[in-house]
Amino acid sequence: MTDKKLYSLTAVFDKPDDIINAAEKVSDSGYTKYDINTPYPVHGLDGAMKLPPSKLGYSALVLGLSGTFAAVLMIYFMSVYDYPIVIGGKPFFALPAFVPIMFEITVLAASIGTVLTMLFFFFKFPNNSHPLLETDYMKLVSVDKYGVSIQADDPKFNEDEISKLYNDLGASKILPVYWDLEEVLYEHKIVEPKFLGMLALTAIIVSGTVYFSLNKLMFMEPFSWMMEQEKLSPQQKSEFFSDGYSMRPPVEGAIARGDLPYQFADKPEMAAKILSNPLVSSEENLLLGKTKYNIYCSPCHGYFGEGDSRLRGQFPNPPSLHSQKLRDWTDGRIYHVIEVGQNVMPAYNTQMTNNEKWATILYIRALQRSLNAKESDL
């Protein structure tokens, strides 16, 4: 027995109530270096052991707040400083949109940070051996028993007294736990070939797996038949055509279906003379005209063509559509203005189809007539 060094004297109890009772008695007897081991968290142990409230909460608070701060900095850098983009008309620094990110990063930082603090600071993590590990005592208390262990370096430690205390408390077993001398006496060297080899092996395996999975595995296609056909991707240089473009322009003089190029771009008089409205003023056409007029024309000319829209005063005022000049214009002349624009009015040739333009003219005619009706209309 002389070559064994005692670490602690442990006792095993059968019931959770017993261990709470034992914890109370042990702490009342004045022992300070002792610990309780149970297979699951037993409620009320903290109080029985007279432990002060855990300090872990403060580390969670600090880490959580630093997470919040880091999140604000990150978002500020990204969306205000480095790459500001207007999203949905919001300001660059749009706090409500950042709150979810701040919240998530706070939670992430607090939880991961707390676990790491617990492992490294409270459990002294890199140290992976503890004398209680791999003992009969630990095997019992990690299954269905409840144990108390008073360490030998406790100032009040006395083997006989503690055994008597344990027996009084009704311990089902009393087990001494010894240091693993092989481990205690082992001389640790800073450079150990075994450890370094292990480290290198781990590094090679981890980096190899990461490299393979990110650079190779991710880009393996299950079927590549359509992916790898003979074709040119957009923006790729063509070897076949002398100009090097892979996309070919349409043949000169080609016209898109349903589209006629406008021939009177700088000849309003000719347009006035030659063009005539192909549509009849049916209800259907007038309704189409009304819809398009209200969309494209009314913002400036007003709903009734009087030039009194809500934009009045913010732009040079648009003329009334009821003037004598406009009433005398032919349909072709009005078409010309819609097609190429006039003064500040832009061209609407790309926004309306030919039919829609003509239908709109029908509607304008109806508006004009509403204010200057002929006698025959009555």
Partner: protein, 395 residues
């Protein structure tokens, strides 16, 4: 630690002035409320809605807490479950608060005006749900369901006092499992009908949850206050200790965060989508002085109770808990005020004696109902099989 020492319980009555305070508040509130109806009819109707929502919060919320205890198999709250049950009795006075609403429907709800609905496409589209007949049917149905489950659950709990039959607990667990989804639906639709439909053009899919979070918070605050108050005076039962206080505090703290989470979610989605048919509701609460109430709501309903209950010792401190409970009740009234009153007055914040009269009546009614129940019945569910474990509860 002995398990067979059957709980010795002798009922101690509440101090006499407790019931008196309640009756006084009730009487003063009642006189002021009747007066208010004569002075300003419409304004009183809106305040009456706050009263109705507050009583619903306390009554139905407390019944929900009782059901949660049964369904979750919680033991820590068993020693004072009866307190929550007393507060659930507030359900019985909900109809009294709802009757004036019935006579003032046209003052409160824009969609009850047939001529307004005829002109308005959106209201016409909603009229199959938002019409007076269906509205009344729904309200009667909600109140009937709450009454039904109140009587069923409380009856079993009361019977257990004398019989101690564990089967009654099983029966209540089953009832709770049925009640909780029904509670979720009824409280959602009740809040939609009574509060959201004040602005019939507006909609928020999270609104029911928002109201629910405030409901539970208010019900819990009343329970916490009374439990701590009675236990500090030794009027409950031996065995309720800091561990129970901590659990109540943590429960409150959780729902403070839940409320803030839901309130922010509602705000952020509407702010982000920026659709005029949704944003006007928040703009209403930002103009004409309402901005101050909105900011105050964040501080009163979230910031102050959050930091007030953040640390572990504060959740175990009886004075802090009692103060925070009253604070949260106050915050809930502000919350209801913020939800309801902007519809009444868009340009200014109406704050006068009328706004004070209805909360006084509400508090008076709750205390009176509580003291009547407390006089008649045991303060502790002495026959409950979980009681011993509840008293032995430790963190």
């Amino acid at each position: 630690m002995s398990n067979e020492n059957s709980t010795l319980y002798s009922k101690k009555n509440l101090p006499g002035n407790f019931a008196k305070i309640g009756q006084m508040l009730l009487a003063v509130g009642l006189i002021l409320v009747v007066l208010a109806y004569f002075v300003d009819h419409t304004r009183s109707a809106f305040n009456n809605l706050i009263l109705l929502m507050f009583l619903t919060s306390i009554g139905v919320g407390s019944l929900f807490l009782v059901a949660m205890e049964y369904l979750g198999g919680a033991v820590w709250s068993t020693p004072f479950r009866r307190i929550t049950e007393f507060f659930a009795a507030v359900i019985l006075v909900i109809p009294l608060a709802a009757i004036p609403i019935y006579f003032n429907l046209h003052d409160l709800f824009h969609w009850t005006h047939a001529e307004a609905v005829a002109e308005d496409k959106i209201l016409a589209g909603k009229s199959s749900y938002l019409n007076e007949t269906f509205f009344i049917i729904r309200i009667v149905f909600f109140i009937a369901v709450w009454f039904l489950f109140y009587f069923l659950i409380i009856k079993n709990s009361k019977k257990q006092d004398s019989s101690g039959d564990p089967k009654l607990t099983t029966r209540n667990i089953k009832l709770s499992a049925v009640f909780i989804p029904i509670f979720g639906l009824t409280i959602t639709f009740a809040s939609i009908d009574w509060v959201m439909s004040l602005e019939p053009h507006w909609f928020s899919t999270i609104f029911g949850v928002y109201f629910f979070s405030g409901t539970i918070l208010a019900a819990l605050a009343f329970t916490t206050f009374i439990v701590v108050y009675m236990n500090e005076k030794g009027l409950l039962i031996k065995g309720i200790k800091k561990d129970h206080y901590y659990s109540l505090g943590a429960y409150l703290f959780a729902f403070i965060n839940f409320w803030a989470y839901i309130a922010f979610s509602q705000y952020m989605l509407i702010w982000y989508a920026n659709l005029p048919e949704e944003t006007f509701w928040f703009l209403q609460r930002w103009e004409g002085g309402w901005m101050y109430i909105s900011i105050a709501l964040i501080i009163i309903h979230f910031v102050v109770p959050y930091f007030g209950l953040l640390s572990q010792p504060s959740k175990m401190n009886p004075k802090r808990l009692m103060f925070m409970s009253i604070w949260i009740l106050f915050a809930h009234i502000i919350d209801l005020y913020w939800l309801i009153m902007p519809t009444y007055s868009k340009d200014s914040v109406p704050l006068g004696w009328i706004e004070l009269a209805f909360p006084i009546l509400a508090i008076g009614a709750v205390i009176t109902v509580f003291s009547i129940k407390a006089k008649k019945e045991n303060h502790v569910p002495i026959g409950d099989p979980k009681l011993k474990r509840g008293l032995d509860f430790r963190l």
